[in-house]
């Protein structure tokens, strides 16, 4: 693989994270005349609370690092330093939990739900889209076009609302909320695993159904373009079997821009999944974020935003590095 390409992608990765982190640092301070974190700390100190002394020491530590007496560039460097060490601070609402602990507990749920749903939706959607654009596929598939259109334009969480109402409330087939039964203790056992899966079916289904439409429609568009290419005509003239042309000539080439589309829509998918988690009270990053927003827990909000930015940048980097493996033309591209 081209070293220059890899280096370029790595530099891009670092720049994206730096830009995101800088935005998180400066945006709150742009609010004219006030720093919301300092205000919040001041509120906590004034109102007393259970850990009055520890809150005071937290406020003092914050002042020492980001205080008014520190010049802005020094605050910024301190901030960059703690971010690099993944020290995201303490949660204000659930003191003395550390933000990184809260995120660490919630992240596996989100990654599992999102990863599996996106994988299923992407694979099925691309296959479906390819079949829809292929003249040799069964006519009955065309009937799926209108519902796919509908589903692709609905935001994930609205679909989640509808699914919750129909399947959880009315039909009682699935649980309303949560990642598992309320009183179950986590354990490595088949019953716990089945319970996890049972509770994740509705949230997963919302994500899968809503993004299925998008993937199939975009794949269909790519396939239509690919079908007009000369090499398909050549393959047909050579007398290759239809299935072979479909899989190895048409789908293979249409998957390339489709993967680019995946890389570009990662942010949207993640945002949609977060909102779905909120609807279902699924114990992932989305619920933690929602609790932080309602509780004005700024450190958690910034920590989660940082986590989201790093995750998206990392996934984009991985996809960018996989891309040359799929498309040899990129591999041999002259720099």
């Amino acid at each position: 693989m081209n070293i220059r390409y890899v280096l370029g992608r790595l530099v891009f990765f670092v720049i994206v994270i730096w830009a995101g982190v800088t935005l998180i640092f400066f945006l709150p301070r742009l609010a004219p005349g006030r720093d919301p974190v300092r205000e919040r700390l001041g509120m906590m100190v004034a109102s007393g609370g259970v850990n009055a002394e520890t809150i005071e020491s937290l406020a003092k530590a914050y002042e020492a690092k980001f205080g008014l007496n520190q010049p802005l560039w020094k605050q910024y460097l301190n901030y960059l330093g703690s971010m690099a060490r993944l020290d995201l601070g303490y949660s204000l609402a659930r003191f003395p939990s550390r933000v990184s602990d809260l995120i660490g507990q919630a992240a596996p749920w989100t990654i599992a739900l999102l990863g599996v749903s996106t994988l299923i939706a992407f694979s099925f959607g691309s296959l479906l889209g390819g079949l829809l654009a292929w003249p040799g596929s069964p006519r009955v598939l065309r009937l799926l076009l209108p519902p796919l259109f509908t589903f692709s334009s609905i935001p994930y969480y609205l679909l989640g609302l509808i699914l919750t109402y129909v399947f959880a409330f009315k039909l009682r087939w699935f649980p309303l909320t949560g990642g598992s039964q309320i009183l179950t203790m986590p354990s490595i056992s088949l019953s716990y695993l089945l319970e996890l899966i049972y509770h994740s079916i509705l949230p997963g289904l919302s994500i899968v159904l809503a993004s299925l439409g998008f993937w199939s429609l975009s794949m269909r568009g790519m396939m239509i373009t690919v079908e007009g290419e000369d090499y398909i005509t050549l393959a047909e003239a050579k007398g290759l079997p239809k299935n072979r042309i479909f899989l190895w000539y048409a789908m293979r080439n249409a998957l390339l821009p489709q993967t680019t589309a995946l890389a570009l829509s990662l942010g949207t998918i993640l945002s949609g999944a977060l909102l779905v988690e909120i609807i279902f009270n699924y114990p992932g990053i989305g619920s933690v974020l929602y609790a932080a927003i309602t509780g004005f827990d700024y450190f958690v909000i910034y920590g989660i935003v940082f986590f989201i930015i790093v995750t998206i940048a990392l996934t984009t980097l991985i996809l960018d590095l996989i891309y040359p493996l799929l498309d040899p033309r990129i591999r041999y591209q002259k720099s």
Binding site: F12, I15, V16, A19, G20, L23, I24, L27, P28, L30, A31, P36, L132, A133, P135, R142, F149, T150, S152, S153, I154, P155, Y157, L158, L161, I162, T164, Y165, F169, L176, R220, G221, I224, T225, G228, L264, L266, G267, T268, L270, S271, G272, L274, L275, I278, I279, L289, Y290, I293, T294, F296, Y298, I301, Y302, V305, I308, I309, I312, A313, T316
Partner: protein, 282 residues
């Protein structure tokens, strides 16, 4: 005009989308005349009433009449989307044309900035911004916030379109006949890109509405206005699903779905205008 209608009959998607949008507009115009939008405020009726003749869409837990909420809230949501989409398109068009046409270092800077901004997920930044503005957030402020992150995608797509069109013969002819750069952009490139710009605009509006509803569903929207997203937020806050108050969350959901379907169809239809090759698809 006649060619417009005959084209519409051939482009089913565009026609369907426009019809849905038109029906919604008519519904709201009629609604404004028949329904008093002051009833969208809390405490205007008994809370938690199911739909009846007196309250066609029932009331919510704060006493708002939901029919009035829908009539008052949907145009607000659409307005936020239109303002944000328009500003995003404007900035995106300027940047896209500049980057695509002039090339060189300007192109590299604009393209890198857009790529970086695209990778950082918009919702994350929007949450940071919105959580800081704790004072009364008006819909227009929300629109401006969303607009600040709506310019990247139009910039990218317009830039790639300009890049392909820049090398066409008629641009060379225009250059040789003495038109300066700006004249070429406005008189030659832009008219040819109009269908594409229109499709991008509708797409931008659609994503702006999506972002607005997403922010509002988190509770970060304008608290005092009864927009569609905030209604869903309050419905969730008061556990409307578990309490069986289906008339609270269902109407906003239906309206949002219709809005998105119509916007999507219009965008897809306009895409077909811009790219005739997709017309011969099955």
């Amino acid at each position: 005009m006649r060619t417009f209608f005959s084209y519409l009959r051939r482009n089913g998607q565009l026609m369907a989308g426009l019809i849905i949008l038109l029906l919604m507009v008519v519904f709201w115009l009629v609604g404004y005349l028949l329904v008093d939008t002051a009833n969208a405020a809390p405490l205007s009726a008994t809370p938690d009433m199911a739909p009846s003749l007196e309250f066609p869409l029932g009331t919510d837990s704060a006493g708002r009449q939901l029919l009035a909420v829908i009539i008052a809230g949907a145009p607000t949501t659409l307005r936020i989307g239109l303002i944000a989409g328009a500003i995003g398109m404007l900035v995106g068009t300027v940047l896209g044309f500049t980057a695509g046409y002039f090339g060189g270092i300007v192109d590299s800077i604009i393209r890198s900035a857009a790529d970086v901004a695209l990778t950082v997920p918009a919702l994350a930044v929007l949450i940071v911004i919105a959580s800081v503005i704790t004072k009364t957030l008006s819909p227009n402020t929300l629109a401006l916030i969303i607009a600040s992150l709506a310019w990247m995608w139009p910039t990218r797509t317009i830039r790639s379109q300009v890049l392909t069109m820049r090398e066409r013969a008629y641009i060379e002819v225009a250059r040789l006949s003495g038109l300066n750069n700006f004249e070429i952009i406005f008189k030659e490139l832009m008219p040819n890109l109009l269908p594409y710009l229109a499709a991008s605009f509708v797409g931008a509006v659609s994503s702006a509405v999506l972002a607005a509803i997403g922010l509002e569903a988190l509770g970060l929207g304008p608290q005092s206005e009864p927009t569609l997203g905030m209604t869903i937020y309050w419905a969730r806050y008061y556990a409307a699903i578990a309490r069986g108050l289906w008339w609270w969350w269902a109407p906003p959901v239906v309206v949002i779905i219709l809005m998105f379907i119509s916007l999507f169809m219009i965008a897809a239809g306009l895409d077909e205008v811009a790219n005739p090759r997709s017309r011969r698809a099955a």
